[in-house]
């Protein structure tokens, strides 16, 4: 593995982060806030350290596969660390652990927070917090690929390590084109949502921050009570709609807009995904009405928002779900595990894998009935190779094993089961809030021990990086025959 080449690409990652730190610093300078020095110095530091490898390392055309994985994994880790510098330098509630937690929650688009009073943060820092969602939503590595100078082979290697095989199914085009489409869809949806939210009465600053949080499916709000602050049904509908879009395959969104045959309306996976969400909303609404928590209108309104928010791994809230009946919590936990679609900005297990799991399950039943028959798996009329099928099954198992290990480790710190389990689900699925009084939709992670925060941060990274890349990198580093 060529360390110098990896350092060169990590330098690009730092430079890209620096760009957003400068923008945040300009906001702070303009508003004469206390976050000028933290943001400006962090930006300068990232620029200097990012430029440094470019002095030495020559342009590289070829990258080995494990170098691509190393750039992808280390790029994310480095990004989370440098992203915490402005928080740590600013102080307040941000200790080193808290700063790293907040930064990781931002970049991985988890949206969990340690802040007890978000509104006292300077606007520049609030923008930086939302900008980490924006960067992480599309993926820092894909952003770098978008702006990278022409080095086709190197780009392909990094791209393959960042984008899963399953998500490429709905992209029938070349890599460069795919990255461009993801960028266009992402930026256009953010712009559209910002304008609508602004028109609905949010300030421009809040509108842009919430749009970053929505399309990146992150969930950082500029208000302590999240979307509940606005108590505006139209804002809730708008955000729900864009959360749903943020959780769908960007290739399919692009295909729908450009009028291609295979689009959101013809996709069986999308139809099943939406049907399950609708059934979930109905179940929760019925239970809330039955338990006299809300009337039908209120129940449907809040159930819809919470289900869409959790299934798309966003984590915005309009109510405190910790007071909801246990049945509704169980349904919401299911959606937190299932998550949204592959090829979107979401993290976690992803619905496509769950869909594939049930297809495989049915295939196995048929195969047992007719041992000599040959059955093939299809998703949206595309044949699924046995490699992808196996990868998905292994991924589901590894995901659940990590969930179990994380819950066990947190329980060992005397953290109650609902917090340990729902916190693990929420961070591994990059959702944000968990369940229960402490880390529920209106709570935060501030009171948890530092070690727990590091476990949650690791979960977030694993959830965002889709686990396997991290394992492959660890194997590559320890493999003597690499």
């Amino acid at each position: 593995m060529r360390v110098s080449v990896i350092a060169k690409y990590l330098g690009f990652v730092l430079l890209f982060n620096a760009l957003f730190m400068y923008i945040s610093a300009v906001i702070s300078i303009f508003l004469r806030e206390t976050s000028i020095t933290p943001l400006l110095y962090s930006a300068i530091l990232c620029t200097i350290v990012g430029v440094f490898p470019q002095i030495f390392v020559e342009k590289t055309e070829e990258l080995k596969p494990h170098e691509g994985i190393a750039i992808s994994v280390l790029g994310w880790i480095l990004t989370c660390i440098v992203g915490s510098i402005p928080y740590f330098m600013w102080g307040g509630e941000f200790t080193l652990t808290n700063a790293i937690f907040e930064s990781t929650a931002g970049y991985t688009t988890t949206g969990s927070t340690i802040l007890t009073n978000i509104e006292m943060l300077p606007k520049g820092l609030l923008f930086w917090r939302s900008a980490t969602h924006f960067i992480g939503g599309m993926g820092i590595i894909l952003f770098v690929l978008l702006i990278l100078p022409n080095a086709k082979a190197a780009r392909t290697s990094i791209y393959r390590s960042e984008v899963s095989g399953l998500s490429m199914l709905n992209f029938q085009m070349r890599m460069r084109e795919i990255v461009r489409i993801i960028g266009i869809v992402y930026a256009s949806l953010i712009l559209a949502e910002t304008i609508i939210l602004w028109a609905l009465g949010m300030t421009f600053f809040d509108a842009i921050c919430h749009s970053f949080g929505t399309l990146a499916t992150g969930g950082f709000s500029t208000k302590n009570t999240s979307i509940a602050f606005y108590n505006n049904i139209w804002i809730e509908i708008t955000i729900s709609f864009f959360m749903l879009l943020g959780g769908m395959h960007f290739g399919l969104i692009y295909a729908t807009i450009t009028g291609r045959k295979q689009n959101l309306f013809t996709s069986d996976v999308v139809k099943t995904y939406l049907a399950i969400i609708f059934i979930g909303i109905l179940f929760i609404s019925f239970k809330l009405v039955n338990d006299h928590v809300y009337n039908w209108g209120e129940a449907f309104r809040h159930a819809s928002f919470q289900v869409v928010s959790l299934v798309t791994t966003t984590g915005f809230a309009t109510v405190d779900t910790s007071v909801w009946p246990m049945f509704t919590i169980v349904v919401l936990i299911y959606f937190s595990i299932q998550c949204a679609m592959i090829g979107s900005t979401t993290g976690g297990l992803k619905f496509d894998r769950v869909y594939l799991f049930f297809q495989t399950f049915l295939k196995q039943i048929k195969q047992t009935k007719h041992p000599n028959a040959v059955y093939v798996l299809k998703m949206d009329k595309t044949l699924i190779s046995s490699d992808i099928e196996l990868q998905s099954m292994v991924y589901i198992i590894v995901y659940l094993v990590i969930l179990l290990i994380s819950t066990l480790a947190l329980s060992a710190m005397d953290i109650d089961l609902i917090t340990s389990f729902s916190g693990s689900v929420a961070t591994l699925g990059t959702i944000g809030p968990g369940f229960g009084k402490t880390i529920g939709s209106m709570g935060n992670f501030s009171t948890l021990p530092d070690a727990a925060k590091y476990i949650f941060s690791t979960n977030m990274l694993l959830g965002r990086l889709e686990i396997m890349n991290v394992i492959v990198l660890l194997v590559s580093l320890t493999d003597k025959n690499k």
Binding site: S4, T37, L40, I44, L45, I55, F56, F88, G92
Partner: protein
């Protein structure tokens, strides 16, 4: 990418210097903010608190002066009232020229209003006290007490506002002093990382090619013709390899000619 070794080394150290210089400047700016906060506390908030104390003291004296007047010690009472009035007016003027907190001017206007009501009442009492009985005097004094407490309350509110300001400024100072240290702390860590990286790049791009060249020279034999140490860069070390090969070529040609 820079090509010459000199430019690479120079740029690396310049980046390190730049990082440390900026950290220094940022720290100076933040420490300057601490200084401003101290100035705000000492010069502004503390000055306002002192003036409110003066006002309270003068108000108490004016009240005592009224009591003296009503008790029959008119000359002493009148003198005390006049001195207290001047003291309060001076303190109000100073406070008006030392507005540091939001809405502080409104608080001062409230003091002026309440004090004027009290002082007017005191004046009216002293002007008419000769015709009053002891019971009437007692009743008027009690009425004045209401206005006295009202004025005192207004002054206390201003004092509280400035005390809160001091508390806020102290917290800001605490935060600013922490922030002033942060660029230095982060720079120390960054400088260590930078030094490790620099060490790696020097080893990768300077030491290793030189070692390869040394190995190439050591393992050279005339039949080989040239030294190929696999240096891919386009810097001084590559030129050294090229020139060494040229020298070898010239020496071999000389050797062949002498034969």
């Amino acid at each position: 990418m820079l090509k010459s070794l000199r430019a690479k080394i120079f740029s690396s150290f310049m980046l390190l210097v730049l990082m440390l210089v900026i950290a220094g400047i940022m720290s100076i700016i933040e420490f300057n903010k601490v200084g401003v906060s101290i100035k705000n506390v000492m010069d502004d908030n503390y000055k306002s608190i002192e003036q409110t104390k003066q006002m309270l003291d003068a108000l108490e004296r004016e009240d005592s002066g009224l009591l003296m007047y009503l008790m029959g010690n008119r000359e002493m009472g009148s003198q005390t009232i006049n001195t207290a009035y001047s003291a309060i007016q001076d303190a109000i003027k100073i406070a008006q020229n030392n507005i540091t907190e939001k809405d502080e001017d409104k608080y001062i206007h409230n003091i002026i209003k309440k004090y004027e009501e009290f002082h007017t009442s005191v004046k009216q009492t002293t002007d008419t006290s000769e015709q009053l009985t002891l019971e009437e005097k007692n009743e008027i004094y009690l009425q004045n007490q209401q206005l006295f407490f009202s004025a005192k309350k207004a002054i206390n509110e201003l004092m509280q506002l400035n005390q809160e300001g001091v508390y806020k400024q102290t917290n800001t100072m605490k935060e600013n002093s922490k922030r002033a240290m942060m660029p230095a702390i982060v720079s120390i860590v960054a400088a260590i990382v930078f030094a490790l990286l620099l060490n790696f790049f020097i080893s990768e791009y300077f030491i290793r090619p030189i070692n390869r060249l040394i190995d190439g020279v050591k393992s050279f034999y005339p039949e080989k013709g040239i030294i190929n140490s696999g240096i891919k860069s386009n810097d001084e070390i590559k030129r050294l390899e090229t020139e060494t090969n040229n020298l070898i070529g010239r020496l071999l040609r000389l050797k062949n000619q002498s034969k």
